[in-house]
Symmetry: C4
Subunit: 229 residues, 4 copies
């Protein structure tokens, strides 16, 4: 079942490796089908080299395995929380990419310092608060998903398609797994540029008019970047 979605998830996972965003068995991609309420996700702790498309696991919204011989990713319930909280999204990616994770470890939002950032994220990429001991000890992975939704507040998830979970790592999303991987690649580069900028001088954020100009020339009804679709 869901063969096309399994293919999407499988390919997106390999793209994480190709872009240098994951090592060992770190990281994960999932795909959610709203019509059926089913999610396809990478199995837990399986090497990217040995994984095949048939190893992808199908779960329902409670996280129960519907199809697949292997256990789904440990982070299954984080993903499910996000699909429930963010109606417009169909793919979620989780990595430990080096620079984005460094900002997550610092517990700091990535400030919007230039147009590279503004082209993709409509403001600073937020960092969550820390989980409480109780949140960590009971249903940890699901609470991580709630934490991400909490920090996004009322913002539209597709205008801010990334959050840093403090002491942990970045999550990104989009309408598809491929879009979520694309955002993860950009986030890592934006995090790297912000790290370097901060090492040169106390950085000043981009002006609001330039942030809007760049974000909106790519992501609005008045967009004039790229080819007509």
């Amino acid at each position: 079942m869901l063969e096309k979605l399994k293919e999407d998830v499988f390919r997106a996972n390999l793209d994480l490796v190709r872009h240098g965003l994951v090592m060992m068995t770190f990281g994960n991609v999932s795909r959610f089908e709203r019509s059926s309420g089913l999610m396809v996700i990478k199995p837990s702790g399986v090497s990217y080299n040995e994984m095949t498309v048939n190893d992808m696991v199908v779960t329902d919204l409670s996280g129960s395995v519907i199809e697949g011989a292997l256990k789904p990713s440990t982070d299954t319930r984080t993903y499910l929380a996000l699909y429930q909280a963010f109606p417009g999204i169909g793919g979620v990616v989780y990595t430990h990419s080096t620079y984005a994770t460094a900002w997550a470890q610092a517990g700091m939002a990535i400030p919007c310092l230039g147009t590279t950032h503004a082209d993709y994220f409509h403001g600073p990429v937020p960092a969550t608060r820390r989980l409480t001991a109780e949140e960590t000890e009971t249903d940890y992975e699901y609470n991580t998903g709630l934490l991400i939704a909490e920090v996004l507040g009322g913002a539209a998830p597709l205008t801010m398609p990334a959050v840093l979970v403090t002491s942990h790592a970045p999550f990104t999303w989009g309408e598809t797994p491929a879009q979520a991987v694309h955002v993860a690649v950009i986030l890592e580069e934006v995090a790297r540029m912000a790290t370097l900028t901060a090492s040169i001088a106390p950085p000043g954020e981009i002006d609001k008019h330039l942030l809007d100009r760049h974000y909106l020339r790519k992501h609005s009804s008045g967009s004039y970047y790229g080819q007509k679709k």
Copy 2:
């Protein structure tokens, strides 16, 4: 038309990828032919993998498409402003290369700290002022070109073939697209070295006599670097 120029622009764009200066659809190269007043430029938002030489777009000095099925780069009018402001140049490159962009985000000129820099740039690589809200909101891309020309002041564009646009990214130029790409590669390395030098010690700039010696042994009538032409 302009098949040789299209080939130059196409190859120079792929060289940006090969040198690791661009990712995704970022960055751009253009070529200007002074005799005809026509410019060849990469199309907007097209992937480097899928692009062919025939996708290159020809525009006139107003930015109107003369030949080509695709929309030209969003930054077309920035390029046109530069070709008008700098008579001696025939190729312009725009990247978001990581270290040069970090200096652009910091809004700081790259100081001339050594001979690697002095061999190519006859002094610090300047950073522009920020655009005003009005400049951003009306004819943003063209105003970006004017801003670059403004910070160069009276300097000969080929003695300072790069400028950092604050909150944005670096632009480089030369007599040809290949020269502009060459400068973009050197600029990124010079920016990287300056970042590292600043992390070791508050750097002292190169002495004026050494700056002149290195710049002029490569770029003057008395040049003695390289082979006779």
Copy 3:
């Protein structure tokens, strides 16, 4: 003799190269067989390109060569000290991997700043004290092994499978050489992330509850990461 173990050691040494953890003839892997009290180790100062599986050297617990035409690694007695001090381990790796060595040179433990670290190390990765002049001048390599055991104190070696030797370099271990190499790869990435985090903000360590959650979900009887074995 010990052909299987030689193969393990040979392959693990090449894995160090493949993961970019060693250059030139730096670094080393050894394997210890508790039943026979014999160790297999890379020869000293031999290039990874030219080394064959038959160059691996077998020594006894005193460091005397039992089989092999070449001299064993200079660090042979460090390894032997570790196999004696840590009963549960069967493989040890020594590298000069760049970021972990930078922390060793700083003489500072790597603080546990996030889950990437917590997934593998149950707390900060300790740095040893400096050796005294006497320890350096008499049986230097063996004393280095004792120093590593000293800083680990009563901790179970497999819950803290890495130590930084101050002014020197990192050592890692596991039940097998492959495990020890795996830890060396993770240690380098964790050291890199910690370096970057510290450059962004004075980092706050991970909360104890999250450290335990991540470490124990991978490494305890209640583990739920990965597939059933």
Copy 4:
């Protein structure tokens, strides 16, 4: 003439590229034959891709070309000054490798922070004073060579086979071009580690007893590193 030496110089130049120490036409390797007083050196400003072994240039001690169709490296007279100042050496390398050049730009010696450094350099790698305007304006390249010899003072060149020329770049040497390239590779890694260490904590230098132990176990009559020769 000197075909074997040309081959050495040609291969060593390509090794600089392979190790990532040079870009474009930066950097250079030369070989000196003491019996004939002749030097083989890379031609000036020729691309590594297009260069052949027959492009290598032979000069005498005054820098006059004895054989070769191309002009020798601009830095020819720097090399000649070094061969005259340091009797024991037969190969010299000059690069703009990123981290070593950053230290040269900072005008700071690389402190000896650990055994990676101590294995190759018997103390800090010195940085020269700045050249005076007069030294720069008259026989600049030869004066650069004298400056390097000056900062080494009475030290044996093979115990300190590298110097950083302030505001410029590193030079390394050895008995052969291959040895000089080997030192250039190590110097870059040592410079990188020192940069990172300094970013973690104000680094404390290695203890003298450990510096001696490591240097001498590789480079003395009592050496016990590597295989017997």
